[in-house]
């Protein structure tokens, strides 16, 4: 282990005068799993984009196998055996999973043309080899869930037998079992001598898989460690101490009225789901990805139509034909995929933050600019969005900061019922802490919150009750206090274990 497999030396990168990276370095050996950690906007993704050949650095050096290299495109990196899964996924939405998996290396027929059959066959073989047969190679990427997209993206990178593999927040949209699967793949690659560099905001994961950790802060590395406890890491990342990650759970008032009630809600991937959400309550929804959470949230929000069952909002039965109708009834949804579902990436932070409250910000249809600015600034301040200014395009923010804008937008509304769908996805520890505080305080102030998370730990600490879904059915209902992440996971996978 004398020659490092991959090395970043004093990389600097600025976007229009704003430095994303100042002097960032790390070294990963062959057969090592190396974690890059840091706050949202610390520059992790920028560094990975540079290592993946997608962005040119302003200064510094990249060394692969001890040789300084100049990557003038992703293909140059591929030639050196370095493959990357970027944070903002790069699958093509209107093409099939198979086409995506085999892009640029499609099997040819004897005539030299791309063979669709062979493409499907090869894709199927790949999915089988990596044990992800639940993904249909014929499906359009647009139609599969975010977790599945992430999985496809990982399979694609891993299938090239990389010597170096960069994974930028690969677990942020995965649930426990999927994370286990990914770690299985990572371990296998590690045994084969591959060096894996990944980023994550989940400390437990980092601890369980990473051999070494490099901590970043404000565009530069502050140290590489083999053994470091969370508090210390957070202090290094943020420059301050985060006391307890989770706020204490305030018991919900006993006689709180029901704000939202579903009775035998059915639809695609949804069977006879019933629950009541009370004022001041955080009702968790957990389980493996693809078991109906997405559909449940979309149905409640009027974005998908239920084939059966009823929905009651504050005592009145409702049939939402569109999200507009749901919003009008006081329901807000923070969706999972910020890239396609929530944010207008080319528009400014200000425009995005104020989108949901345009009505309040306008008089006679004309926007009141100062109020818009004030509202946007409030979002930025209260969630500590790292941005050069509220006029910056949202697409230029780091992934976690985009997520904060999206969350903040909905919190500005006066909606009483909040549907939070995996809102801490890709958010750093310090901000997670703030979001938890926020959720708890929203509940205390009388909001009713339906809370889905792919992180069972989070559900266990934050929710009054947790519904665990399996195959579109509520498989278990757990009550606080005393919920543990293990309870949730085991309720979610009980059948799989039995099988």
């Amino acid at each position: 282990m004398t020659i490092a497999a991959v090395e970043a030396v004093d990389i600097g990168k600025a976007y229009g005068g704003v430095a994303a990276l100042t002097k960032a370095s790390f070294t990963a050996q062959a057969g090592e799993v190396h974690a890059l950690v840091g706050e949202n906007g610390a520059g992790k993704s920028t560094l990975i984009k540079i290592m993946g050949g997608r962005v040119r650095p302003d200064s510094g050096e990249i060394r692969i196998g001890g040789q300084a290299v100049s990557l003038n495109g992703p293909q140059a990196a591929h030639h050196l055996g370095a493959w990357t899964v970027f944070q903002e996924l790069t699958l093509l939405p209107w093409m099939t999973v198979a086409e995506n998996l085999l892009l640029q290396q499609e099997p040819r027929s004897s005539l030299g043309l791309i063979s669709r059959q062979a493409t499907l066959r090869d894709a199927d073989a790949l999915l089988a080899r990596y044990g992800v047969m639940h993904i249909d190679p014929r499906a359009l990427v647009e139609d599969i869930s975010l977790a599945e997209r992430q999985t496809v993206e990982i399979v694609r990178a891993v299938s090239h037998a990389p010597k170096i593999l960069f994974l930028d927040e690969p677990t942020s949209s995965l649930v426990e079992r999927e994370v286990e699967w990914l770690f299985g793949q990572i371990r296998r690659l590690r045994e084969q001598g591959c060096s894996i560099v990944f980023t994550s905001h989940r400390w437990a994961e980092i601890r369980s898989i990473a051999d070494r950790i490099t901590i970043f802060r404000g565009g530069a590395d502050v140290g590489t460690f083999t053994d470091i406890d969370e508090d210390e890491a957070v202090r290094l990342m943020t420059g301050r101490r985060v006391e307890a990650l989770y706020p204490p759970l305030t018991p919900r008032p006993a006689a709180a009225p029901v704000m939202l009630e579903a009775r035998s809600l059915s639809g695609p991937n949804l069977r006879q789901v019933s629950f009541a959400l009370h004022q001041g309550e955080v009702l968790g929804v957990g389980g493996l990805a693809g078991h109906g959470h997405r559909e449940l949230f979309r149905t409640v929000f009027g974005d998908a139509h239920a084939s059966g069952g009823t929905l009651t909002v504050q005592g009145k039965e409702k049939k939402f034909r569109s999200p507009r109708a749901a919003i009008a009834s006081g329901i807000a949804l923070v969706p999972e995929d910020r890239k396609t579902e929530g944010l207008l990436l080319r528009m400014s932070v200000r425009d995005n933050a104020s989108l949901a409250i345009l009505k309040r910000l306008t008089r006679f249809g004309i926007l009141k600019p100062q109020e818009e600015r004030r509202a946007a600034q409030h979002v930025v301040d209260s969630l500590r969005v790292r941005t050069a200014g509220i006029g910056l395009a949202v697409g230029a923010l780091s992934g976690g900061n985009q997520q904060k804008v999206l969350l903040g937008r909905w919190l500005e509304t006066e909606c009483q019922i909040l549907l939070l769908y995996d809102v801490t996805r890709g958010v750093d520890v310090a901000t997670k802490h703030e979001i938890y505080e926020l959720v708890a305080s929203l509940a205390r102030s009388g909001h009713a919150i339906l809370f889905y998370s792919s992180d069972a730990e989070e559900l266990a600490h934050l929710c009054h009750r947790v519904l665990v879904m399996r195959e579109g059915v509520v498989a278990a209902e757990l009550h606080a206090p005393g919920i543990t992440a293990e309870d949730i996971v085991s309720a979610a996978v009980r059948d799989h274990r039995a099988a």
Partner: protein, 334 residues
């Protein structure tokens, strides 16, 4: 052998091939349905007013009149798929039509050579568009609007007076007035499209239309693909110019103008998404036939001339809305 923990799901539910094929090609399926409906309606009207079935003449003339639009729609599709738009389609048709009028008059050898040269002119026009868009990083709509005027200007310059006389052999092959020879061009376009779709270029065109950024991180050259797409579009526009000249038996440097708009209409009817990345040349081809069938239907419905365009617009609007609604229902129901 995979380690157990590396298996997430050893099997999974798979929807049938047919159901995938249908939902993923809903645009194409709908335009075919629309075309069939149009043909039935047309035949019904025809029989009711003429007391006989439409025959070889009707087929031949409809085919010959549609081929230029079919190629123009194909040209538009190639560009729209890259998330661009080509307003210069009409200009390229004008130009190639004018050159055809000036050059196509000799024997079969010279006609063949000039035909190839005219296709080359189309490619050059596309090259200019493509380079301006891809390398110059300019908006396709601005680039092609400007080149539209440029191509129109050159066309008028070289052929100020409409004229020329296409050799009968040329007309006989591209727009034979007596036998429905053009029928062979439909499967031909279909085959060419299928081949295109199965080349790396074809996949790249779709990929950059999906997400240029993502495509480039998989090593697809956005510049090269864009330029080639515009060039192929230019060649298809040149084909439209040639078929137009053949059908008219002469050239006119202004008759291509209307194709800019009608090519967009035909492509959209054919299920090509103006946001890029979705659609097929075959759909655009059928879309072209639908627009011509609409003219036929309105003809035999004997509508007040002042209302003909109104009904035509209404019909197209209804068709696009219906396609959209049905498409959404199909997608939702899965």
């Amino acid at each position: 052998m995979p380690i157990p923990e590396t298996i997430l799901a050893a099997s999974g539910p798979r929807r049938s091939r047919l159901s995938h094929a249908l939902t993923q090609n809903i645009g194409l399926a709908l335009v075919v349905a629309l075309l069939v409906a149009c043909i039935i309606l047309y035949c019904g009207l025809y029989i009711a007013t003429q007391h006989r079935l439409p025959g070889g003449y009707e087929l031949t003339s409809t085919l010959n009149n549609t081929m230029p639009l079919a190629f123009a729609a194909l040209a538009q599709t190639l560009v729209v798929l890259t998330r661009g738009i080509d307003l210069s389609v009409g200009g390229v048709i004008d130009l190639t039509n004018a050159v055809a009028a000036l050059t196509l008059m000799g024997g079969p050898v010279s006609t063949t050579i000039w035909t190839i040269a005219i296709l080359g002119i189309g490619a050059l026009c596309g090259l200019l568009n493509g380079v301006l868009v891809a390398v110059g990083r300019l908006q396709p709509i601005l680039v092609t609007l400007s080149t539209l005027s440029i191509f129109q200007g050159i066309a008028i310059k070289i052929l100020p007076q409409p004229g020329g006389a296409m050799p009968p052999g040329f007309t006989g092959v591209l727009a034979n007035p007596n036998v429905p020879l053009s029928l062979i061009y439909i499967p031909l376009i279909g085959i060419l499209w299928a081949i295109f779709r199965r080349t790396r270029l074809g996949v790249s065109v779709f990929a950059i239309g999906n997400d240029a950024m993502a495509a480039s991180s998989h090593g697809i050259s956005v510049k090269r693909t864009t330029i080639l797409a515009y060039m192929l579009g230019g060649v298809a526009s040149a084909c439209a110019g040639l078929f137009l000249a053949a059908n008219a038996t002469a050239g006119d440097a202004t008759t291509g103008d209307t194709y800019t708009l009608t090519s967009i209409v035909a492509a959209v009817l054919g299920g090509v998404s103006l946001f890029g990345g979705r659609g097929s040349g075959l759909g655009a081809l059928f879309g072209a036939f639908v627009t011509v069938m609409v003219v036929n239907i309105l003809f035999f419905a004997h509508i007040d001339p002042l209302y003909q365009t109104f009904y035509e617009g209404l019909f197209l609007l209804a068709a696009v809305i219906a396609a959209n609604v049905i498409g959404q229902i199909v997608r939702r129901r899965r």
